[in-house]
């Protein structure tokens, strides 16, 4: 199993009885977790379960934290030792910030020269090289607001990779990008992982992302379970993680997690929207955009992801 590949070495990241809170709300509660060197780990869990906080704890970015997080054996609250790359959730980025692509990419090197206010020739060359490597060379002078979704993700990956990190942290790297970009990002992460880079990413996409990763950690304030999704994506574990009623379908070696169709919602909506239903019937036979929407929402297995991403499923494991 991939996760045990370097069992002899001490883990790269270790959480020992870590609790985090914002105000009075406890977000993580006595978490113990080890991330081995060379692992590719997905962190899943419902909104507000502490996925992003888990990532922030690894960089010492949680103000109220008890317990100890170490990276490469050193507590994260002290001076930095290991090189860490950080990719934020695209939705949280201020795209109107007055900065060019090259400047944003160079931010990944700022920890090395914290007091310099300007870019050196070496900085520029490093930024352009990593942009080239990610297939977005030539965008260096562009304003960040002038990027497409796929380019945005690549620019922030470039910013993380410019420091040549041993540990790459990504917050929802597939959220807010189209399916093609999502697949490209996952393949890129698989490639980086093969070179030995340890990668930890949060995701809310169980079928299209988490199910294909070699190792998944289920978080809901505590670590509910961790392991190969083949093993741990069971109704029991996922329902405990999401506090919901999920169905797991296994077919041809693929795992599909379906949230149980909200069947009572349908009748509830029909009762409260009699007039609306009536209006719909008037349009029968005339394919109306609402009808389409309606049918889609009540599919018994929503987003069954027959999207051809099975190859992604296999590659990160090799």
């Amino acid at each position: 199993m991939t996760h045990a590949a370097r069992a002899g070495e001490p883990p790269l990241v270790r959480f020992a009885a870590v609790s985090c809170s914002y105000g009075r709300a406890t977000v993580l509660d006595s978490v113990d977790l080890e991330i081995p060197r060379g692992a590719l780990v997905g962190v899943v869990g419902p909104s507000g379960a502490g996925k992003t906080t888990l990532l922030r704890a690894i960089v010492g970015g949680v103000p109220r934290m008890r317990g100890v997080v170490t990276v490469d054996g050193r507590p994260v609250t002290g001076p930095r030792s290991a090189r860490v790359g950080w990719v934020p959730q695209l939705e949280t980025v201020d795209w109107d910030f007055p900065a060019t692509v090259r400047e944003v990419v160079c931010m990944g090197r700022w920890g090395r020269a914290p007091w310099r206010a300007w870019m050196t020739r070496e900085d520029r060359a490093a930024a352009d090289a990593v942009l080239d490597r990610l297939g977005v060379g030539g965008l260096g002078d562009r304003q960040i607001r002038q990027l497409s979704g796929g380019q945005q993700q690549r620019v922030f990956l470039a910013r993380a990779l410019i420091s040549d990190p041993v540990l790459l942290l990504l917050d929802e790297p597939t959220s807010g990008v189209d399916i093609r970009t999502r697949d490209e990002v996952l393949h890129l992460l698989a490639d980086l992982n093969r070179t030995g880079m340890t990668i930890v990413m949060t995701t809310h996409e169980l079928n299209s992302v988490a199910a294909h990763l070699p190792w998944v950690v289920c978080v809901n304030r505590r670590i509910v379970a961790e392991g190969d999704p083949e093993r741990i994506f069971t109704a029991e574990i996922l329902n405990a993680t999401y506090e919901a009623d999920l169905r797991i379908v296994r077919q041809d070696g693929a795992i599909l997690v379906a949230d149980a169709a909200p069947h009572r919602l349908r009748s509830a909506l029909r009762h409260s929207h009699d007039g609306y239903e009536h209006a719909h019937h008037e349009h029968e036979g005339d394919p109306h955009i609402h009808d389409h929407d309606h049918a889609h929402r009540h599919e018994p297995v929503p987003h069954a992801h027959a999207d051809g991403s099975v190859h992604v499923h296999e590659e990160p494991r090799s």
């Binding site: 010492g60 950080w86 934020p88 060019t100 700022w110 914290p114 007091w115 002038q146």
Partner: protein, 281 residues
Amino acid sequence: MELLVSPFLDNAFMLRALAAGILVAVACGVVGTFVVLRGLAFIGDALAHGVLPGIAAALLLGLPGIVGAAAGALAMIGGVTLVTRRSRLSTDTAIGLLFVGMLALGVVIVSRSGSFAGDLVAILFGQVLGVSEGSLLLQAGATLLVIVVAVVCARPFLLLAFDPDLADVAGFPARRYHTLMLLLVALTVVVSFQTVGTLLVFGMLLAPAGTGALLARRVGSMMAIAALVGALSTWAGLLLSWWLDLAAGASVVLVAVAIFFLVLAATSLGAARHPVGDRAR
């Protein structure tokens, strides 16, 4: 041409006002850029008014106003930090509470002194036409300090504004730099209040930097545009005040705000003419 320069050449106090105003404009352009990018406008406003009771108390005790202003600003920063850390209230509630509290306290203290209205107007709107050489030197020192701190701390400050998580990754202690940024705002407010007044220093902090944000593609040029707009507003405002007999400090800020809205109108018009825009998605 004569109309545009002669007031400054013929009157020493007008020249001192122009010099002081330009120094304020440069400091406010640099600090205001961080205020706008980090979204600190409200605390900037609160600092600008929070210094009032300090100044009033200092004047009552016969101390220099600037000492009181510094004490007021520190009390404001300490209070906001304390309330947000000790309670579940959001920062803007904490700022708002301290803001009205300090303002009311200031007015109460001022009302104890004999010349209520005169003192209050002087504090709020400044005495740009009565700048002494001493305070001009002080202003120059403060502006220089602001520039040095902004250059040295440019990277942590920008990360704090753009991506606080990356600031943690890079090993910049976020709280420390946040406090340092607030102290820089406080320094600018405290030193500038003698020139443009506490109320108007806030306008000089926001309007030129806001104009810079509309036009600039980089942080450096945003600061440069802000400083330039501020200096231009000082010159135009002082001229308006001279020829039309208007309040000087208020005229300066009015010009700065007018420039912001003119640029906003021009850029929106430009955007409307190219409806596809430059946003690729």
